[in-house]
Amino acid sequence: MSPIIKVNNLSKHFKVYRYHRGAWGALRNLFSPQYQLIRAVDGISFEVHPGELVGYLGPNGAGKSTTIKMLAGLLVPTAGELIVNNRVPWKERKAHVARIGAVFGQRTTLWWDLPVIESLELLQYIYAIPPKRFQQNMATFRDLLELDSFLHTPVRSLSLGQRMRADMVAALLHDPVLLFLDEPTIGLDVVSKERIRKFIQHINREQGTTIILTTHDLSDVEKLCERVLIIDHGKLLYDGSLNTLKERFGGERELCVEYAEDYLSIEVEGATVSEHNGQRVTYKFEREKITASELISRISLRYRIRDLEVREPDIETTVRRIYEEQLLEK
């Protein structure tokens, strides 16, 4: 299958002008403008195949949204090659956006003062969705997202979770082949988050929609994405599976043990004690050096254990390590 997104050496540079104040400054601005070149996206390459659900991660200002804007046809690249759905996005904006969907968690595309259904009906008209298809999609979404309770409520009166669900529907009514989700769970409570995640999973698996997900909530990524791209300072730092990422950059795992008695010395070979609080001890160990079961058996040979727990490094720490140490930079 040919890729749905093909990005080759893509760059987007901005000139940020430094403005001088005052009348004299205005003249200087005009005749000798000074600017700083910002490499928001700096020579990235990757491919996404139909049906993939890719997490696109990076700290603020890393170049995430600039990339998404180029993929969506809102921005023209400075250099490099960009093909989405067999089109150059910015060259054929209307044809391109007719086949994609986008949800920006922070703002809504719906008409603020009108009932949700009226916005959806207008979108049906704009995207020329056949009535039958519209009905089918609405039936599916009403079921999955429990829309019925607020379909006739003005958007301004919706809760954040309801609004997000409505925006999801608005982005998917026209059966886009590619969906961009920007912080789709931001500010939501646990239940709403879970519902949105299930829905994202459903449309990816059942409808085969390709999804690019940018988020700061790494539990979104852990639950949804097999593959992640990590960008920082405009450069792609990592492209691969989430598991490999964890294994290679996950750092130390933790073993928390609650002993049945007080021991004076609780050292054990292959691990270091990071916390010692009465009978509760936390060990750190590296996955390359020792397995969890080996460590546990060593401990249990010497001490009596009441309870224990193995903690995996959370992905947040992992990603932070990559950002900070730039481990992948050559």
């Binding site: 921005l75 023209v76 910015w90 904006r93 209307k94 704009i126 020329a128």
Partner: protein
């Protein structure tokens, strides 16, 4: 894709329905603007009762000038509300404009359909009332040419100020710093041309003749329709420049708008 005009119609329909959600606020807004205009025009009437004329123009003739601009500018302000520069600039900053670009519809139509300030109706109606009042006080010798030309004058004014709105909005792709200066030409300009322009200081009049040619939008057409003499001895074709000035303004602004969108897509502000 559905036809662009139909989408515009539907966008407007949603605007009506949205604004009708706040019926009281809508009515108060209309009442408010109508009161301001009434006081404004009322004080003009009072002044003219005392001085009988402004620069040789009697009340009915000034009311003719005033009412046309009031009604037509308000109509323009309603149609082009989406291009009101401060409003548009805010949308660019907040990213709402990006969301319009994500829909497979002509972008200009979407901006026009994104806002439609219905409460401008108050001033439109009041302008028409004052126009009728002006008709009572003046004795215009109507000819076919005058009757046919008057709607073209309206159109010229709409296009001219609409063009200024588009120009101002396009500038916000680069900077939002001095966007209020555009208001000097739109709101300020429309105030200027509501009165006989020979009463202004010469440099001001010259500015509005040769730099921003607003004098041809209302003053010269009024001279023609009211059969008043041209104090500046311009060639007679200037009476008929209103639609041309409007057309040039709107065409130039549209070209600049398209250029601005290209620029926006290459910089994203």
């Amino acid at each position: 894709m559905s036809s662009t005009l139909d989408i515009y119609r539907r966008l407007l329909l949603l605007q009506f329905r949205s604004q009708m959600q706040y019926r009281m606020s809508f009515l108060f807004y209309i009442l408010n603007t109508a009161l301001i205009t009434t006081f404004e025009f009322g004080s003009l009437v009072l002044v003219m009762q005392r001085f009988e004329n402004i620069g040789g123009w009697r009340l009915g003739e000034v009311a003719f000038l005033y009412s046309i601009v009031k009604a037509v500018f308000s109509l323009m302000d309603m149609i082009f509300s989406g291009f009101d520069p401060p409003y548009f600039g805010r949308n660019v900053r907040l990213g709402t404009f990006d969301q319009l670009l994500l829909r497979p519809v002509n972008i200009t139509v979407q901006v026009l359909g994104s806002r439609f300030e219905l409460h401008r109706l108050g001033n439109i109606i009041l302008g028409l009332v004052i126009f009728v009042f002006a008709m009572q006080l003046t004795d215009i010798q109507w000819t076919w040419i005058k009757l046919l030309y008057l709607p073209l004058v309206f159109l010229g004014q709409i296009c001219f100020f609409g063009g200024l709105f588009i120009l101002g909005s396009t500038i916000t792709f680069w900077t939002v710093d001095s966007i209020e200066t555009v208001n000097i030409f739109t709101y300020g300009g429309s105030e200027m041309i509501a009165y006989p322009m020979h009463i202004y200081h010469q440099w001001m009049r010259l500015f509005f003749t040769f730099i921003v040619p607003a004098i041809f939008l209302n003053y010269y057409p009024a001279l023609y329709i009211l059969d008043k003499p041209d104090l500046f001895n311009m060639p007679p074709f200037v009476f008929f420049l209103a639609p041309i000035v409007g057309f040039i303004s709107l065409t130039a602004a549209s070209a600049f708008w398209r250029f601005g969108i290209k620029h926006y897509q290459s910089t994203g502000t």
